[in-house]
Amino acid sequence: MKLNTQQIQELYKFTRQHYVEHYDVQTELVDHLANDIEHIWENKPNLTFEQARDKSFKKFGVCGFMDIVDERTKALEKKYWKLVWQVFKQFFKLPQIIFTITLTIVLYQLFKAFPQKATFAIISAIILITIIIRLIFLQRQKRKRFSETNKKWLLEDSIYRLGNLLLFLNVFFQISILQTRNLESTTMLLVATFLYTTVILIVYITAFILPSKIENILENQHPEYNFVTNR
């Protein structure tokens, strides 16, 4: 006996009730449960849909779908940073490298020309404010997308959260805004310049480039995406 469309929809609802928010994870679990329910019915055809479903769900153990969701989130976080790395590498190839070199020179000149302490603090503050403004904007965009499609995707979450960038940059901001000493040696100043260049590039990639390519990324990384958007 095969499951009908209504029962498949029931299974999607069932995964949502068990804290699986994202459509890509739901889809895989729905197919798994459906296969197992059909298998159970082969041996025990008298069981109702709900009984067979619960029997199948028990096999996932006491944590239910939680472990799977956690691991999937971790795996996609990794994938997200791989995407960032791919774009980052492009900034060291022509023509983007011209932008990278210009940025480095401008920053170095700024650090040399103005009082360092204030320059570090002001540039860091600008970066921080940019991230916050983008995060607010992207959260709005995310809500809008969800209200239109009623589906969430794990990678979409990472993109709109900028892969928890603020958490990673926390130490950088603390040091750069609160630091009190000037960097005497040219070497140290160069190190600081490269660090700032890297941070600015990463912010540009995570807060601007990746969100602008979200459709493309989801199509490539979530094969289910093409099915539901009928592309």
Binding site: V30, D31, K79, P223
Partner: protein, 112 residues
């Protein structure tokens, strides 16, 4: 079952080996096929299988393909080029491991 613990560390290798033999497979199929091959001795749990699959996918060892099966979607996993090489390495490691275990468990036999 206590011996399930022994299999746990080899889960990824088992998945890779199965995928090497069967072009593409979906999660449920992997659990069933393993049961079938091992006469029910090895039972891959759902809670262990999917995290392993997702990890291998994130590493670039596996790639996925979604196919519409009637009223639902099915996610198939298959080896990438990198995955095929990885499988060969893992299987070689596994053979070494089995050989070493053989020396420990059955020293007489290994002298031959």
């Amino acid at each position: 079952m206590e011996n399930q613990k022994l299999y746990k560390g080899s889960l990824q290798t088992i998945i890779l080996k199965l995928l090497e033999e069967n072009d593409k497979m979906y999660g449920y199929e992997i659990t069933q096929r393993t049961k079938e091959i091992t006469n029910g001795e090895l039972n891959i749990t759902e809670g262990a299988l999917y995290p392993a699959l997702h990890k291998l996918e994130a590493e670039g060892t596996l790639e996925v393909e979604v196919v519409s099966i009637g009223n639902r979607m099915r996610k198939y996993y298959k080896l990438t080029e990198q995955g095929t090489k990885e499988t060969a390495n893992r299987l070689a490691e596994m053979k070494e491991f089995l050989k070493t275990m053989q020396h420990i468990v059955n020293p007489k036999l290994s002298l031959e």
